[in-house]
């Protein structure tokens, strides 16, 4: 590999780090409360809305935001675009934390967590269940992501010969690890959409379609590219490094194509099924907002000249992240109804626990980019 990465260095414990640590601490206390008094004590979940923001945000949106590593691996290793390789390491790092903490969130959410290992015992597993595919695939992918990150960590221990030997051994397995690192997200990001097929009429026809898996897959890959651009701009700003403009502008170009394909499939499906796009009241508004958020990056990044503009890249990638997140919220919460009389809005402790998980992700990211060679060497950019 021609390009080099290096640790940013600097103090780990800074003021922002302490703020994040405080948020995380609040969350941990609330988590204890949840284990002592049950899910009802900290959440607004009910028999009408059995899944809330812990599933929708922490798992669905969290893993889609963690698709940076997947999307970049697809671009670099499959489409052979090595010019994007400098972005891979930080994308993998974001993915590691997005996915690992989604895994943690699942253990907060499931009521009978002490039976959680049943998911891995063949005599319990029901292979007709979409959730089995999702759970096993995410668990396997968390392992793969840590293996993908391992060379970076081992490279950080330059003076340890054992670490360097381990790194060489690991790099020989790279093609297998990367191939699995592309297969597994393809499987579970689509299956996350398939989860809602069985809800039938309980999900509004604006979202309920046999194409759910395909739409979830495309939007997850698009979000993977968007988070890579978003994170590149933010880390350049935060660590006062030069912007990676030409490279992320080209990623923006890839995004435009994907959004185009996504929107064509989404609209064609609605037309063919004759879904009540404009006559569903509040749901129509949410549907329109969701798709307008997809159109914004399409317009902003349409021409190569716009794409070179950092501001439009930033707005476009943020809008796309919101679009993909809203699509997931709409398909799992807003468009879902068990019948009249049920309402859901997350409780404060529920939101604080989610925020604490986000805080842990950011703390992990900050620690790793400072301690290990994740970001490209500044002078090479």
């Amino acid at each position: 590999m021609v390009e080099e990465s290096q640790p940013l260095g600097g103090k780990i414990v800074t003021k922002p780090f302490l703020v994040l640590a405080a948020l995380a601490a609040v969350g941990v206390v609330l988590m204890l409360y949840r284990y002592l008094y049950g899910l009802g004590a900290v959440t607004n979940l009910s028999d009408g809305y059995p899944w809330g923001i812990w599933i929708t945000y922490d798992v669905l949106v969290g893993t889609a935001l963690g698709c940076g590593g997947y999307a970049m691996a697809l671009l670099v290793y499959i489409f052979n675009r090595w010019e994007y390789h400098p972005l891979v390491r930080s994308a993998v790092l974001t993915s590691v934390f997005g996915y690992t903490l989604a895994g943690v969130a699942i253990f907060l959410d499931i009521g009978r967590y002490w039976n959680g290992y049943h998911l891995f015992l063949p005599w319990y597993v029901n292979f007709n269940s979409v959730l089995v595919e999702v759970a096993l695939c995410i668990a396997a992918y968390v392992g793969i992501l840590w293996l993908e990150l391992a060379p970076t960590v081992l490279e950080g221990h330059q003076d340890n010969p054992k670490a360097q030997r381990a790194r060489q051994r690991l790099e020989r397995w790279l093609p297998v690890i990367v191939a699995l690192g592309i297969l597994l997200p393809t499987m579970h990001q689509s299956s996350l959409g398939t989860l809602m097929i069985i809800a039938g009429y309980k999900l509004s026809p604006l979202w309920q379609t046999p194409l759910l898996p395909l739409l979830f897959l495309i939007s997850a890959i698009t979000m993977g590219f968007a988070i890579t651009v978003f994170e590149s701009i933010l880390s350049s700003l935060a660590f006062k490094r030069p912007f990676e403009t030409p490279m992320i502008a080209k990623v923006g170009g890839v995004m435009v194509w994907l959004i185009g394909v996504y929107l064509v499939i989404r609209l064609a499906d609605l037309l063919l099924r004759g879904a009540p796009v404009f006559s569903s009241g509040f749901l129509s508004s949410m549907f329109i907002l969701e798709n307008l958020l997809y159109v914004v990056p399409l317009v902003l990044l349409a021409s190569p000249a716009y794409r070179a503009n950092l501001r439009s890249l930033f707005v476009a990638s943020s809008s796309l992240l919101l679009a993909g997140s809203l699509y997931r919220f709409n398909a799992f919460l807003v468009g879902y109804s068990a019948g009249p009389g049920w309402t859901y809005f997350p409780a404060l402790p529920e939101i604080l626990i989610t925020l604490s998980i986000v805080a842990l992700e950011l703390m992990g990211y900050l620690y790793f980019v400072k301690r290990y060679p994740v970001l490209p060497k500044a002078e090479h950019v």
Binding site: Y35, L36, Y37, G38, L39, G40, L45, D47, G48, P50, W51, V76, Y77, I78, F79, N80, R81, D109, I110, G111, R112, Y113, N115, G116, H118, L119, Y124, V125, N126, N128, S129, V130, L131, V132, E133, A135, P175, A179, L180, I182, L183, T186, M187, S190, T194, L195, I197, I198, A199, G200, Y201, K202, P210, L211, P213, L214, Y336, A338, G339, G341
Partner: protein, 321 residues
């Protein structure tokens, strides 16, 4: 080094295997809705016979050892608003306009019992990742095993009738639902709700017999006197009553692939809170999609092979075919 047309076709071939099945109008491995089990047991509930005495609710609580439920505001005794982890069975009231006439949609009222429908092809069983919900291969009862359950609540998302309920107030929660008193069936008994129904509104029996009985009732002429068996469909204990009109529809005969609980009423079932469902079960739709993608893990392995080939080729920069 860009991506050649040949490479693109290779990726596309693998990827399209996965993608195509979600597009194809005739899925690769269609999974039909499951057929009724010959020995299956169930309940026939006839809303026109029901007098709303709630004896079935009291019996259900007693024989399933369920605590009182005070969800109706200000209630001092057991008075549930809806099904919950404390209530497996409820009698609800439909009322319209002046609410004067029994079993009439306009200016009338009707009772409706709600409890697990024991689907022929249950969505909860298909959804449950750890086989905590299963369908008995003889009786067809949909049973819950707390020893297997991980508490993910996907069964609640999946159930079209919102039957499985979760213990939100417990540190060690369970899913709770009607199991047709299978603990009583195992000892030669039958569902408590039917044993204690004084009026013959709920009767227990073999589902084939229940369907015959439902069809017999639909064929009766309103105004004439007919016999209605009490407690069990095959019971010699019958009562005679003047037939009141029925809507010509047996709910559960086809809905969502059919249910082992069948219902008769004279008010449209949708007004009574039962969802309009397609004949095809949601489980078969979901499983058709999943099995088309994952049967024998063939598509994933093919895709993995293709991915490995390309990654290996691109990382080692070898000039492979």
């Amino acid at each position: 080094m860009g991506l050649s047309r040949r490479d693109f076709l290779k990726v596309a071939a693998g990827g399209s295997l996965v993608a195509a099945s979600s597009f194809s109008p005739a899925p690769l491995l269609a999974r039909e809705s499951k057929a009724r089990l010959p020995e299956a047991v169930g309940i026939l509930y006839d809303a026109t016979v029901c007098i709303g005495c709630k004896a079935c609710m009291a019996a259900c609580k007693e024989y399933n050892h369920l605590p009182p439920d005070h969800s109706t505001p200000g209630s001092v005794w057991d008075n549930p608003l809806d099904l919950s982890a404390k209530t497996y069975n409820i009698v609800k009231l439909y009322k319209n306009g002046t609410g004067q006439t029994k079993d009439q949609a306009i200016n009338g009222y009707s009772f409706i019992r709600r409890f697990c429908m024991h689907c022929v092809d249950p969505a909860c069983v298909s959804a449950c990742p750890v086989s905590a919900l299963t369908k008995d291969s003889t009786t067809g009862v949909v049973k819950y095993d707390k020893g297997a359950c991980i508490g993910c609540r996907y069964c609640q998302i999946a159930c079209p009738y919102n039957v499985p309920k979760f213990q939100w107030d417990q540190a060690f929660p369970q899913i709770k639902k009607c199991q047709l008193c299978d603990h009583r069936i195992a000892q030669g008994g039958y569902s408590a709700c039917c044993e204690f129904c004084p009026n013959g509104a709920s009767i227990f029996g073999n589902v084939q017999d229940l369907r015959k009985e439902a069809r017999r009732r639909l064929a009766l002429k309103p105004g004439e006197v007919a016999h209605y068996p009490l407690h069990r469909v095959d019971s010699q204990d019958v009562r005679h009553r003047i037939v009141t009109p029925y809507l010509n529809h047996i709910f559960g005969e086809r809905e969502g692939g059919g249910t082992q609980v069948l219902m008769l009423a004279n008010v449209p079932f949708q007004d009574l809170g039962l969802p309009p469902l397609p004949d095809e079960s949601a489980a078969s739709q979901s499983e058709t999609l999943m099995h088309s993608l994952y049967k024998g893990m063939i598509a994933p392995y093919v895709l993995l092979g293709g991915l490995f080939y390309l990654v290996y080729k691109n990382t080692t920069k070898q000039d492979l075919p």
